[in-house]
Point group: C2
Chain length 326, copies 2
Amino acid sequence: MAARGGMPGEFAAIARYFRPLATHPGSYGLRDDLAWLAPRAGRRLVYKTDAIVVGVHTFRDDPPDLVARKALRVNLSDLAAKGARPLGYLLALVLPAETKAAWLARFAAGLGADQKEFGIPLLGGDLTRTPGPPTISITAIGEAPAGRPLLRGGARRGDLVFVSGTIGDAALGLLALKGRLPRLAARHRRFLAGRYLLPEPRLALGRAIAPLAHAAMDVSDGLVADLGHICAASGCGAEIDLTAVPASPAAQQAGERHTLARLTGGDDYELLFAAPLSAEAGLRAAARKTGVPVARIGRIVPGAGVRVLGPEGGEVPIRTGGWQHF
Amino acid sequence: MAARGGMPGEFAAIARYFRPLATHPGSYGLRDDLAWLAPRAGRRLVYKTDAIVVGVHTFRDDPPDLVARKALRVNLSDLAAKGARPLGYLLALVLPAETKAAWLARFAAGLGADQKEFGIPLLGGDLTRTPGPPTISITAIGEAPAGRPLLRGGARRGDLVFVSGTIGDAALGLLALKGRLPRLAARHRRFLAGRYLLPEPRLALGRAIAPLAHAAMDVSDGLVADLGHICAASGCGAEIDLTAVPASPAAQQAGERHTLARLTGGDDYELLFAAPLSAEAGLRAAARKTGVPVARIGRIVPGAGVRVLGPEGGEVPIRTGGWQHF
C-alpha cells in the first residue's frame, strides 16, 4: 500500500486511515512497495486469500467497520481451522470513486479494532478505484508448526465428527436481518444478526485441537456442504445426528422449521473436524481451556456423502446446497 | 482457492482452469483452505498485493490472457525492484456472473504462460462473483536475502540515478491503442502497445543490482512521479537530464512532442534506482549479464523534488502527475 498515484486523496487516505494500522517493521509504514514477514524457527508460513464484495457477501449498507472485520475474519477462520496463528495481512481495497471519507474511516477503525483483538498488523496493500461495488481482498499470513498440516483430507473411517460453538446462527441471523423472523424476541434477533455480521475465528481452539484432529475446516458454506468437502477429500462418508448439532438458545427459540436452514446455511465460521475416539478427552480439555464448546455430532463412515439422521435414526432428506460463490 | 460453494460452475472452473496451475505441494491442488510456502535458510519472505480492475487499469475488452499476465507482472515488478525472487502467488478473482468459459480459459492460459516464464506456481485463492467489472487481486510472494532490504528511502546526496530499459513506451502504447498515433509505423505502434499490455518485470536485473543500489522502485506511476517518491522517502531532491532518458526506436519515431507523456506516463515497469558512482561499473556488468540495458539519467541533489534539465541545462517545466489510482 505504498502511496502510488498522484491524487492527494490516495496519499491522504493511506496516511490517515491505513498507516496507523501498519505496525510491523516489515511494512515500512506502507511507505515502500512490499513487506516482509519471517516465521519463527521451526514454523512454516501459511496463506489464505478471500475476497468480500459489498452487496454480494454483505448487505449493501452494512456498517463499514463490520464489513472490514468480516473480510479479515473469514480469512483468520481458515487459519484457525488449520491450527495456524495469524501474523499479519495484506489488503487490496477496491472502492468506488464516490466513497466517502466517513466510510473509509469506519472501515479502517474496524480493521484497527480487530488488529488489537487478534494481535496482527496490516503489512501492505493496494488502494484503487472501481465503477463496481467496494471489493475487499485480504491475504492473511499465519504460522503453523512445520510438521503434519491439518487438512480436509485426513478423515478416516471410525473417526468422530465434532463442531465448535453452535451451528446455524449465521443463517438465522441473515433471515433476521431480512425481517423474516418477526416473532423472535429482539435480543435473540440481535444475537443471531451479530453471529452473521461478525464471525468469531476460533483461533485458540484451532491451535489446541490441531495435534488431535485428523481433518478440519471451518463451516463457511454450511455444515452439510462443508462436511461433504471433508468426505470428498478424505474418500469417505459421514453421518450427522441431527439432535446432536448444537443450537444456541436463539436458534432453539426460532424453532424446528428452521432446521434445514441451520444445517445448510453458511457463514458460521465454527470449526468442523474429524478425530478418533481416543482424542475425545483431549478435545474436551481443549474446549475447557479455550472456553469454546465442542460437540460431537456424528461419525465418519464408509462410502461417500453426508447423511443426516433424525431422532429415530432415520435419514432426514437434505438438499445439500451451500453458499453459491460463483 | 478451495472449492467452496455448491454451484458446479465454481468447482468445475477451479478444477479445470486453476488446478493445473497449482503445482507447488503447499497448495494441495487447491483442494484445501490454505497454502504454505517456506523460504530457503537465510532468506526472508516478501509480499506484494496489487489489484487490477478491468476497464480501469485495462481497456474493457483487453485479451483476458494479457489481463492475467499484467495483473501478475505488476506484482512481480515490485519484487524485482527489491531484488527478490518470486516463489508463488495467490489470486482473488472476482468476476461477473455472466463471465464466459472462454474468458476464463484464456485468463488461466495467460497465467499458465507466465508461470512457466517466471517459474512460479499459483498457491491458492478465491473465485467469487460481482455485479461490477472483473477484479483481479494478486498477492505475490518472493524471497530476498535476509540482510539490508532495498527500499525507496535509501538514496543519498551524490548518488547517481539509473533506469533500466527504455522509458515512456507504455504511455505511448496507451496513446497508440487509443488511435492517437496514426502516423506512426504499424510495427512501432505494435511494439509500444505491447509494452503497455505486457510489462517485463526486471527480475534478474533487480537481483543483480540490489547489492549495489541505495534505493530502488519500479516505474509504475511515471518516471518523474516515481523518482519523486524516492526523493520524498530519502529526504532529498533529484535532477534528470532529459536527453539521457532512454527512448526506444518507436518512441524516438513518435517524436519530441510526446516527451512530457514519456516522462510522466505510467506503466513502464522498468527499474529506477539510485546508486553511488563507485557502483557504476558493477551496474554496467549487471546490465550486460542480464541483457537489460541500464542508463544513467541524473543525480540525487540536496533539497526536495525532481527537476528535469533540458539539453542546455535549463529546467524543463513538468507538471508531476503520475497515474491517479483513486
